[in-house]
């Protein structure tokens, strides 16, 4: 054997196991270097080195060890990896070992062996059931200064990587399949054989590193006369050879949603020392299956006794896994504590590999199966009708306190005695994994014979087979699965037959656990030792009893009050024990107590896998105009407007934003400005009812608009509130061009489609989004006309030939364009539309021609200042879905002639005309330099006591470099009747309130003379 340093662990058997002894690896845990083998999990490798203590518990910081050998592990959560690859809360029982793996224990400070937080155990009174709720009831000062610091220290599991830039890549993929089989144990394999034989597309997924499930941990079972492992190997090979079968290992199904939509998380490279670049670390599969087969087996239940959480206390089945799969001895001197036959297999195996079985403690008064006789025949001491009362030991179990009990009542009847052991293998019965079945809203029923819930009715097209269907014996499970697989394929539309169940030989056993929900104890009432029901959430048996005493009787309430079955564990091990204790306390049978909802995700899943590639620049679409490169070359700062990137302002020579914007505004008013307006929504209307439809959409009339003319329109929702605005132009008899706000374009189109398809399907109207067909450049300012003329325009641009609010097709610099004479600045303006691909060329022509005329590019910020100076509204800024046209002082745009338009009847409601509605007004500050923050609230008296009576809020606020003072608009209650009145805007952080006067909304050129240049 090729062993490199360090030395392999002393608890490793010299042969056996499914590890690759040819490939020894070294790893680090809490700074110490250890050796293991490829094929180990971190947990098996730690146990091989005699390391049991791997973490501290959530609430009490109790020392915790490795309880299980699979994904149901509640204790052994560790941080794995370093730097920006570090991941918290990984189950050591699932993490495949690789050379160089670095892991750290969690929830401990300063060291795992000596943990200050363990003092919490002594402060138990701080943490009874419901402590979060009770604590909140204390005065705030207690919360902040006393409780929060303690809880913060204690709460939380692992830490996320400090470097938030995850170095790994994740992917998502979709798959349709006929049959999805969850669980690759013997049942899953049988189901797959039946289903795949029909020709159906089959996916078989399993969380473990290899298929075989629980059978990999058994040593005394034969199939077809050979060891079960042979049958598994042969079956896997057969399935792998079938082209209609997809097998995924290290893949956990963590969600089962409506209409057979399931989510899987595949660990693609987590187990590799070097993660190849071409592979993602994890892949999330989104599966739509015609039929689902759940073959997830069962979870073994812990037994409830004092100190049952100490390192060294393990599930009996897990002990077999560690010996058979990993050739690791979890202890040297064992006590078996059980209420069923299954744990006797563990006793026999321990004996086989030379571990002293000090005693078997069996709650049952008269167990009598073959396995029991075998144990006795080997000379093992079996204490029937006994219970473990308490496990002692500081960081590891050392001594067990045992006594005879009344098996019915749990009362201690005998003198307690003590047995030394460093391993306790416990078995409290078996719980079929109904979690996914329940997540999919399948019903479960209480099986009194087997003392567990098992699936009854299905909500989705699914079938549970084998142990997760409550069929615990191997032959029965295999037959059940073979039939289930065939039924699934048939349900998916295939002709299928169940494969024959092979001959099976396994020890005959009584799996039914003895029912004793009361915890046997000889302690004084109220001073029982801590016996854990939910290991991960540190919920004890007494917590549940306390919850009942305090009046929580509903199972859902008890769950929330005690936190039992919450968090990442979701009660995999604890559920039935908690229900049992609850039923005992309430004196009601378990079916009447009910069960809690099984929630998504079934097992913790990384956000990386859920996000996949949808991060950073791929998180959302970024839309760029054709002139984007020019803006970037000229140093523009950008802002997001919806998905669009718009040039915000163009600083020159180290200008501040304020300086740049002031310059752009002034230059536009004195000379000319040029704006990239390509992002405006543009919708093409055709059809003989286009005009009629526009009449119904807008508050004003459009069917009377002459060809070649433009009109501003306001669109309402049917509740009478402003939804969007824009200019619509009549291009032809039955042809209109609508512009919408940049952000509202998609909504407006969908909204119009909805009315056309659902309300007025008789209208002949066709809508096409042409936003990206056209590049749009606005030239605005007194020199605008001269610049277009200088460039060579095929049409006359005089006021007579080309009046305000009209449109013409033309050639500009030899390029075909649509010119709209409309203005959002109040200056003489031309909005030039050109086929998108020519947008940049035209922009460059205009810049060149405009140079002698002082043409200045301006961004969206200057655009806002220019429009605010003119009192033009922006929908979504001056409006918020509760503002009608009257509130905006725009009653003039609401037609009184039209019999109907969207929002007309709603506008006529009495409430729409109330005087105390918030109405749009202008605001002028007393101090011309003071700029009121947008959103600031107006009050009449800034010295009134809190809460102040607020009139409304500022919607737009800018400094106007042309006027030399700030300009603002606000929505104020009854504002229209308050012009000339003084209002105040209180500020935060001790700043003085801003004094202002209510004005008209138009600050600049109120008569509108400048529109003609």
């Amino acid at each position: 054997m090729n062993i490199k340093s360090p030395k392999q662990g002393q608890m490793r058997l010299s042969d056996g196991g499914r590890i690759n002894r040819k490939n020894p690896v070294s790893f680090r845990f809490d700074g110490k270097t250890f050796a293991g083998f490829e094929g180990d999990t971190l947990a098996s490798a730690l146990l091989a080195n005699g390391v049991h203590l791997v973490g501290r518990s959530f609430k009490y910081h109790r020392p915790r060890g490795i309880l299980t050998a699979g994904y149901d592990e509640p204790n052994a959560l560790v941080e794995i990896g370093q730097g920006n690859q570090q991941a918290p809360n990984i189950r050591a029982t699932e993490a495949m070992l690789y050379d160089g793996l670095t892991a750290k224990s969690q929830n401990r400070w300063p060291t795992l062996g000596f943990d200050i937080g363990a003092v919490n155990s002594l402060l138990g009174r701080f943490f009874p059931a419901g402590f979060y709720y009770k604590t909140f009831m204390f005065p705030a000062v207690f919360w902040k200064n006393i409780y929060e610091p303690i809880i913060r220290k204690a709460a939380g599991l692992g830490r996320a990587a400090k470097d938030h830039h995850d170095a790994d890549r994740y992917e998502k993929t979709h798959r349709h399949t006929d049959v999805l089989i969850v669980g690759g144990g013997v049942s899953g394999l049988m189901a797959a054989l039946s289903a795949a034989g029909s020709g159906a597309r089959v996916m078989l997924v399993d969380d473990a590193n290899e298929l075989g499930g629980w059978m990999l941990s058994e040593n005394n079972t034969t199939i077809d006369g050979k060891p079960a492992l042979n049958w598994i190997k042969q079956t896997v090979k057969a399935l792998e050879a079938m082209s209609n079968v997809t097998i995924l290992t290290r893949t956990q199904c963590f969600g089962y949603m409506d209409h057979n939509f399931l989510t899987l998380a595949e660990k693609v490279t987590d187990h590799l020392p070097q993660r190849p670049d071409h592979l993602p670390r994890q892949r999330m599969w989104k599966i739509r299956a015609k039929h689902v087969v759940l073959a997830q087996g069962n979870h073994e239940r812990p037994l409830i006794f004092g100190g049952n959480d100490k390192p060294g206390v393990m599930m009996a089945g897990a002990v077999r896994s560690y010996i058979n799969c990993y050739a690791v001895l979890p202890g040297r001197r064992a006590v078996i504590y059980t209420n069923n036959d299954d744990a006797y297999k563990t006793a026999l195996l321990l004996d086989d590999v030379g571990v002293k079985v000090a005693a078997i403690v069996d709650q049952r008064p008269t167990p009598s199966s073959v396995l029991v006789s075998q144990a006795m025949a080997r000379g093992m001491v079996v204490h029937t009708g006994h219970a473990v009362l308490d496990a002692n030991g500081t960081r590891h179990v050392g001594t067990l306190k045992i006594a005879a009990i009344n098996p019915k009542t749990g009362d201690v009847t005998g003198q307690p005695f003590y047995i030394d052991a460093d391993l306790v293998a416990m078995s409290g019965g078996f719980t079929p994994v109904v979690n996914l079945h329940s997540q999919a809203r399948g019903k479960i029923t209480w099986d009194d014979e087997q003392v567990c819930f098992r699936p009854s009715d299905y909500h989705e097209a699914a079938i549970c087979v084998g142990a997760c269907n409550g069929v615990f014996d191997l032959k029965g499970a295999m037959t059940d699965a073979a039939v289930g697989g065939a039924m699934a394929a048939m349900a998916a539309g295939f002709t299928a037959e169940a494969v024959m169940t092979p001959a099976v030989d396994e020890p005959s056993m009584v799996m039914r656990p003895h029912v004793l929900w009361k915890m046997p104890s000889d302690a004084v009432k109220g001073q029982e030792p801590k016996a854990f029901v939910d290991f991960q959430n540190d919920v004890t048996a007494s917590d549940i009893k306390l919850a009942v005493r305090e009046g929580y009787h509903s199972v859902e309430h008890v769950k929330r009050y005690t936190t039992n079955g919450m968090a990442t564990d979701q009660g995999k091990l604890s559920n039935i024990n908690a229900l049992g204790i609850l039923s005992d306390q309430l004196g009601k049978p378990i079916p009447e107590v009910g069960t809690t909802t099984f929630r998504y995700p079934y097992t913790p899943t990384t956000f990386g896998a859920i996000a996949g590639r949808d991060i950073k620049e791929l998180f959302d679409t970024e839309r760029l105009t054709r002139m984007d490169a020019w803006h970037r070359q000229h140093g523009a700062e950008f802002e997001h407007v919806g998905q669009w990137m718009r040039a915000w302002y163009y600083p020159i020579d180290g200008e501040t934003m304020e300086e740049a914007v002031n310059r752009e505004v002034k230059k536009t008013r004195t000379h000319a400005g040029i704006l990239d307006a390509s992002t405006l929504g543009k919708i093409d209307f055709r059809g003989k009812d286009a005009g009629e439809f526009l009449d119904r959409l807008y508050t004003n009339m459009f069917s009377t608009l002459k060809i070649g003319r433009c009109r501003y329109g306001l669109m309402l929702k049917d509740d009478g509130m402003v939804m969007d605005d824009g200019v619509t132009t009549r291009l032809g008899e039955n042809h209109y061009h609508m512009t919408t706000t940049t952000g509202g374009a998609a909504n407006v189109l969908s909204w119009m489609e909805e009315w056309l398809q659902t309300e007025w399907p008789e209208l002949d109207v066709y809508l096409t989004s042409v936003t990206e067909e056209w590049s749009v450049t606005t030239v605005s300012g007194p020199n605008a006309r001269k610049i277009l003329e200088a460039l060579g325009c095929s049409v006359s641009l005089t006021d007579d030939a080309f009046p305000f609010m009209s449109y013409q097709d033309a050639n500009l610099a030899g390029l075909p364009v649509r010119i709209f004479r409309i203005s959002f600045t109040g200056e003489l303006s031309f909005e030039i539309n050109i086929k998108a691909r020519h947008g940049l060329a035209l922009w460059q022509h205009l810049m060149k021609a405009g140079e002698p005329f002082g043409l200045t590019p301006y961004g969206t910020e200057a655009m806002h200042v220019l429009r605010a100076e003119k009192g033009f509204i922006i929908v979504g800024q001056e409006t918020d879905g509760s503002v009608n046209p009257h509130d905006l002082g725009m009653s003039w745009i609401v037609s009184k002639k039209k019999s109907d338009f969207i929002g007309k009847r709603a506008l006529e409601r009495k409430s729409m005309a109330l005087n105390n509605r918030k109405q749009l007004v202008g605001i002028k500050t007393e101090d011309p330099k003071a700029i009121i923050p947008e959103g600031a609230h107006a009050v009449l008296d800034p010295h009134q006591s809190y809460p102040m009576e607020m009139l409304g809020q500022v919607t737009s606020s800018y400094y106007s470099p042309v006027l030399g003072h700030s300009v603002a608009m606000a929505l104020l209650k009854g504002g229209h009747a308050m012009k000339g009145q003084t209002v105040w805007f209180p500020m935060i952080n001790g700043k003085k309130p801003i004094k202002a006067v209510i004005t008209d909304t138009v600050f600049y050129d109120p008569k509108g003379d400048r529109i003609n240049g």
Binding site: H459, D719, E753, Q757, E759, D900, K904, R905, S911
Partner: protein, 124 residues
């Protein structure tokens, strides 16, 4: 995630669709006079039954066409998918249509031309 059978494109994931809420809300005609409260039945009041619900869907990330569906809000089963402008045919959906409180409202009556006694509700 629901699987929705678009009548034009076939079965697609729910994420491709937008739910447009309750179907068969008839819009009162301007020619009929109703009170503000009655108008509110059209504008604001929406049904929220436990069981069969008739609702509108739009295949927004597909053909962008609207259609009606009868869905059980408890089981999420799509009982029937039927064209915009038509009424459902299955018994459960027909019953849901007939028994909806809206059938008796003034706002729905006002969606029909004033003089006539027959005629379809506009928004179906």
């Amino acid at each position: 995630m629901l699987l929705i059978d678009c009548p034009h494109c076939g079965a697609r994931d729910e994420t491709e669709f937008a739910c447009g809420g309750e179907a068969h809300i008839a819009r009162p005609l301007a020619e009929n006079t109703i009170s503000d409260a009655e108008f509110a039945e059209y504008l604001f009041w929406r049904d929220n039954p436990k069981g069969v619900f008739l609702e509108r869907w739009c295949h927004t990330a597909g053909c962008r066409r609207w259609f009606n569906a009868a869905r059980d809000t408890v089981t999420h089963e799509f009982i029937e998918i039927y064209a915009m402008g038509s009424l459902p045919k299955s018994k459960a959906a027909k019953d849901a249509y007939a028994s909806a409180w809206r059938r008796q409202t003034a706002s729905e009556k006002a969606a029909k031309p004033a003089q006539k006694t027959s005629g379809k509700g506009a928004k179906s």
